[in-house]
Amino acid sequence: MFETLILMLDATMRVSTPLIFAALAGLFSERAGIVDIGLEGKILGSAFAAAAAASVFGSAWIGLCFGIVASICLAMIHGFACITHRGDHIVSGVAINTIVAGLTVTLSMYWFGMGGQTPALVGDARFLDITFPFADAIASVPVIGPIYSNLLSGHNILVYLAFAMVPVTYWVIYKTRFGLRLRAVGENPHAVDTAGISVAFIRYRALIICGILCGLAGAYLSTAHNAGFLKDMSAGKGYMALAALIFGKWRPVPVLLACLLFGFLDAVAVRMQGVEIPGIGQVPVQAIEVLPYVLTVLLLAGFIGKAIGPKAIGRPYVKERA
């Protein structure tokens, strides 16, 4: 039982990683007042760019850079539409998701001609797992052994980075000048503007950070968790991250917990397919898969707590005319 739990948690860490990156990305964006349902598109775009670059240059790090750049570009389109041209955030997000879904396949067909995939990545073109010192040595020690060598050790660097990003995000959001301004801009952009700070500049910077984090999420998918890009490989992770963001009420630590919960449910669901549980029979996997969305809806409807987002979210900032 304990073994199984460790294995499930181990899988949870791997599955949650892109969710954590993307949900933190959404946190930066939405705390600055920009609704971002384009997380999905940015993840997918980055996954493609990272895999393509990694396969061409043979380096996962170069892939990561390309992934981040691609994701930032998409974030800037979102910014251009929502910040500069006061466009509807939702529409812009839908547009980005749609464009990326089409473009990644079109481009990968052209470059690699493999039905919308990139070539499989080998060796340095992928982020490989890191084994902690003495992991093998103490693997057999009860309790601590499995926790250390199975759960904590043996992930790739992006997994650790994702978890490290949570305290970093917390610090940036609550303890720095940028964070103060970012939160203020999401609550009352007029206050920020009259304080002599450019609302647009803060929002653009928030979106750049959002782009970087989505870039990490996408690169993780294609160059760390998997070994190559696949059509539609983000498979709704952006939306699930959005759900986690809401579920975590736009705060870094609860958001992390929400991501872990959703990741855990996913890890459970994967292993439940077609499995007969003695006495119960088959548990429909779909029921587990759907839980994150159902929970988020229940939360939004106020049946379990209340999710109150940043006040100025989704509203374009226009200087009022006298």
């Binding site: 303890k175 720095t176 000048r177 940028f178 964070g179 103060l180 301004r181 939160r183 203020a184 609550e187 009352n188 007029h190 206050a191 920020v192 503007d193 009259t194 304080a195 002599g196 700070i197 450019s198 006040k311 200087k319 005319r321 006298a322």
Partner: protein, 512 residues
């Protein structure tokens, strides 16, 4: 001696509208300078230019005799200019401290800045008697204190020139008095104050000099001691103001509507309306006086059925309406209650609609405008044409989008809609807000005419002059409750002002 701030030939145009034209202004250091003008005279635009919100098309600004380029609020702050906006620029769920340091954090990491800010705020509080709990969350503070946070924000940034845009609109007269004492203290410390208002009394009471704006132009400068309310009023509107309305004495008869102990809570559970009782008789105008935000809007909304009451009941047209048996706005209209809302843009009109569509808003279910399944467009258009002619709406084009009419004509469309339904009771809020002088007279006459035809009218206005001129009876509201009632003949500004601050008996007891 150089002026603290000098404006030279400032002009600003928004599309076809000339908001400011060749504005010149000289403000000596350490004085309080008033700027008055009607709504839309261009005061706020001018202040926004000084504060870097807009860039002037032509002209320039000098501070302490030196020309400064103000392209952003940051430039204004650097030039020592601070501004207290009409609508506070505060982040409501931040603490006072966070609000104050926003934009002047003193380093990339907050920790150091916060410590320094704490000390500086203590000093400011001491020096100008601006006491405040720096760790309080802003949205939990009363309005007067929120304004104080705004002033502290400006001073913390080292402002030597402080602009206040309509600072007393949301304050009780007593809170306002306190504000002016603070301004005097600031002045003594050498701060220059620019006070924008359309309230002549404030200008006369507190300023050293006053400038008058009209239709985007600066039309006069006066030393306050050498001018008078009448003089300024005339300069402001350009002709003699007629503040009285010709009307005969009221002939009140039956009680048409009575409200008993009405209470209502907002979404946060705060009681906005507190046990309000009133009676409204046929053939009278009942005025509701009060500083804006003291429950008048809630009262109108509850009476008209827009929001349900939480406690109390209304007797109207033989019906008892209470929390258990509420009636919505449509049902109240069916009982012949009409309502001209306080804000026609937010409520009274759908600006994207063509005039003939907006002219049936609220009455769209009436059989007059409907066939069996579809609406009867012809009937709507015919009626709209008739009314536009009768009420002199210009241009008389029922297909024009309502957004494209001027404020006065929009208001005429709304009032015509409500009055022409021949209601028994008319609720009317801020009937002349943003309406030009000519239309004001017209609207006032129509209200009196309706009264004389035996209808009951409940008038809500923040303009004391309007209340006093139109009402037969006046009720004063403060903090959601009725704090006094008097006959219009016995009302004067001082009495009403004290009642509005709920300080009638204790003079200045409750001022913040």
């Amino acid at each position: 001696m150089p002026y603290a701030i000098e404006l030279r030939d400032i002009s600003k145009r928004f599309g076809a509208v000339q908001a400011n034209k060749d504005i010149c202004l000289q403000v000596p250091a350490g004085t309080i300078h008033g700027i008055i003008g009607e709504n839309g005279a261009g005061k706020s635009t001018l202040m926004s230019i000084i504060y870097g919100f807009y860039e002037a098309d032509t002209g320039h600004i000098e501070v302490d005799g030196k020309r400064v380029d103000i392209r952003s609020s940051q430039d204004a702050i650097n030039a020592g200019i601070g501004m207290v906006h009409q609508h506070f620029m505060l982040v409501e769920n931040f603490s006072v401290l966070e609000n104050v340091i926003l934009g002047a954090e003193g380093g990339a990491v907050l920790k150091n800045g916060i410590g320094a800010a704490r000390l500086e705020l203590q000093r400011l509080a001491h020096e100008y008697s601006l006491d405040i709990d720096v760790d309080a969350i802003v949205e939990e503070l009363p309005v007067g204190l929120q304004q104080r946070v705004e002033i502290l924000k400006a001073l913390y940034r080292g402002a030597r020139i402080l602009i206040l845009d309509e600072p007393t609109g949301v304050l009780t007269p007593q809170e306002a008095d306190h504000l002016f004492r603070i301004l005097k203290a600031l002045k003594e410390q050498g701060v220059t104050v620019l006070l924008i208002t359309h309230k002549l009394r404030e200008i006369m009471a507190s300023t050293d000099n006053v400038s008058v704006m009209r239709q985007g132009e600066m039309v006069a400068h006066r030393e306050t001691v050498n001018t008078s309310t009448e003089d300024l009023a005339e300069l402001m509107v350009g002709k003699k103001v007629r503040l009285t309305v010709h009307k005969d004495d009221a002939q009140p008869s039956d009680v048409l509507l009575s409200a008993k102990n009405l209470s209502q809570f907002d979404s946060q559970g705060v009681k906005r309306l507190k046990n309000v009782s009133l009676e409204l008789r046929a053939g009278e105008i009942l005025g509701i006086a009060g500083v804006s935000g003291n429950g008048q809007s809630e009262l109108l909304n509850v009476l008209s059925g827009i929001t349900p009451m939480d406690e109390g009941e209304i007797h109207f047209a033989g019906q008892v309406i209470n929390a258990k048996a509420p009636k919505n706005a449509a049902q109240m209209r069916d009982l012949k209650m009409a309502h001209v809302p306080e804000d026609r843009h937010k409520m009274g009109l759908v600006t994207g609609f063509e005039a003939y569509e907006a002219a049936v808003l609220g009455y769209h279910n009436s059989p007059v405008y409907n066939g069996k399944i579809l609406m009867n467009r012809k009937a709507m258009l015919d009626e709209c044409n008739e009314r536009m002619a009768a009420w002199d709406v210009r241009p008389p084009n029922p297909h024009l989008k309502t957004a494209n009419f001027s404020g006065g004509n929009q208001q005429k469309i709304v009032i015509a809609r409500e009055v022409e339904q021949n209601p028994e009771v008319l609720l009317i809020g801020q009937p002349t807000r943003g309406v030009d002088i000519g239309a004001i007279e017209n609207i006032h006459e129509q209200i009196v005419k309706l009264r004389d035809s035996g209808k009951a009218i409940l008038l809500v206005s923040v303009e004391l002059d309007e209340i006093m001129a139109l009402s037969d009876r006046i009720i004063v509201m403060f903090d959601g409750a009725v704090v006094g009632e008097l006959d219009a003949k016995d009302a004067d500004e001082r009495t009403l002002g004290l009642m509005m601050a709920n300080a009638f008996n204790e003079e200045e007891g409750v001022s913040a």
